[in-house]
Point group: C2
Chain length 304, copies 2
């Protein structure tokens, strides 16, 4: 049984010896917003110098893969495009695997629209779409639906609006229209506020439409399966490093990977202690419990 | 066991003899948008002429009680303010019962803000509140929270936005801040589209904040309890007439009222048949099954 054991010197050395692939979540593990988390870039670069494979595995759908590479370069991480697995990329790969040739109604941001453009997938665009006046004054006769839409994709969208939820759920009235969500992360905790995550937008559309989406991102095991198909990874020699036990650590455990939680993001030390205690009584929580825990990823540096 | 028995001549006469109070849901029972459902006004008026008590019990929070009275007058329903129990009214009554003297952060429309104004409850207003630019460009340092806010109230809001969900969940970080929702109706079905209900807005805030709201509207039994306190109603001689089995009929059954479903709104005949069949195996569905069912409320008219 996993018990979130602290990563001491001995555990760190053993982990490095017994693994050859590191999967890193980004926000809350490598950086917070535009700030590198202490020594995270040194760890990522040093691991690669030592011959370890490194992938960045993020539920964030607001950037394209090349925008991630540019961010990495700016923040001092050595990383190229095939090393980035974002949910915008996974969504496009999924649609391509289905030979999807209709249009996408998009509730999301430019990360998704640009990945779709690059793959030749047609979509109705992103950005503000706000209803004028009181919805109950008219009969919404002005709402026009595009009969070519064959999928609704929901990612992070800071322009989420009544109009967008209405249109997304109206398209989903047709059971042949696909419902795809990048992820269901609930929130990004910040010091003075709570920033709503993609899960708030996805759940709004799910409630209005009465349908459940196919999820692209963590904890969906499809994230690791896509990597395994392309790179022939051995789960037993792969470690997932994440700050969110519900998404990162669950995906790692479900796929049979080693798991390391860091406390620089969503899951706090108090959360983790509660999780370990509660999982003893409630087996459904077990996949969220990491094998190892470290205050921050930089704590690996002395052992590299 | 209730089985949604069709309201034939005999059942209709028996119902009229054995009840003295009628609670009517509005949208989907008495009217759809601005159109009276056939003979609904004649039924409501005739019942009152025969000495029956009539109340309109709506989860809609977009209008004040006097706006409902005006709508009734326009559509030919005899009805005065004490007969209207709306969720905007219930919300204000609830806050008053707690001697609430802080400010409300409102995600809702003018029905709520005007009822609060009339009761002297301070709030931060309603209407558009949209975030400019990309939320991830900055650190959201410009978001200011009002330290006097002591409650978040969520009702139907066609101006729902990322900014509003963010502010509501940020206020709810403080466990002393109340979280009140008018209702959780999921959607209003319309011919060509799906119109999102208050439940989509409430769930978005619940997911982002990680908190569950106190619900004012049906199926909460508080709706009937408020009526009973004021008017001394006998549950066994009261019938709840509604188009939504999840809200109207559940509230009626949970409070020990007679229940009559009509098929002019949310619940279709197919839904009802599935519900009756499924409730045999799944007892949790039993409160949604009405005692009686009629195609429309006007079918009562020949017996009055």
């Amino acid at each position: 049984m996993r018990q979130a054991v602290p990563l001491d010197c001995e555990k760190a050395k053993a982990l490095l010896q017994s693994t050859d692939t590191f999967l890193f979540d980004c926000d809350g593990v490598l950086w917070n917003g535009g700030d590198v988390i202490k020594d995270a870039n040194a760890v990522v670069n040093k691991l690669q110098e030592l011959g370890k494979k490194v992938f960045l595995v993020t539920n964030n759908s607001t950037k394209t893969r090349d925008e991630y590479v540019a961010k990495c370069a700016k923040l001092g991480f050595n990383c190229n495009e095939p090393q980035v697995i974002s949910t915008s990329y996974l969504t496009v790969q999924y649609l391509k695997s289905l030979h999807f040739d209709k249009k996408v109604y998009l509730v999301g941001s430019s990360g998704l629209s640009r990945e779709m453009d690059a793959a030749g997938i047609r979509h109705l665009g992103e950005g503000p779409d706000v209803m004028e006046g009181n919805v109950f004054d008219g009969r919404l006769d002005h709402i026009r639906l595009d009969p070519e839409v064959g999928a609704v994709v929901v990612g992070f969208d800071s322009h989420i609006s009544f109009n967008k939820i209405l249109k997304a759920s109206s398209y989903l009235k047709n059971p042949d229209v696909l419902f795809i969500a990048t992820n269901r992360d609930e929130r990004f905790p910040m010091e003075h506020i709570v920033c709503p995550g993609t899960g708030t937008m996805v759940t709004a559309v799910a409630v209005a439409s009465g349908r459940e989406p196919t999820i692209m991102g963590k904890p969906s095991r499809e994230v690791f399966e896509a990597l395994r198909r392309q790179h022939g990874l051995d789960p037993a020699r792969t470690v997932m490093v994440g700050d969110n036990c519900k998404t990162d650590i669950t995906m790692g455990n479900v796929c049979g990977l080693r798991t390391l939680a860091v406390l620089t993001g969503v899951t706090t030390r108090a959360d983790l202690e509660r999780l370990v205690a509660d999982s003893a009584a409630d087996g459904a929580l077990a996949p969220q419990v990491p094998e190892l825990v470290a205050p921050q990823i930089g704590d690996l540096l002395p052992f590299l």
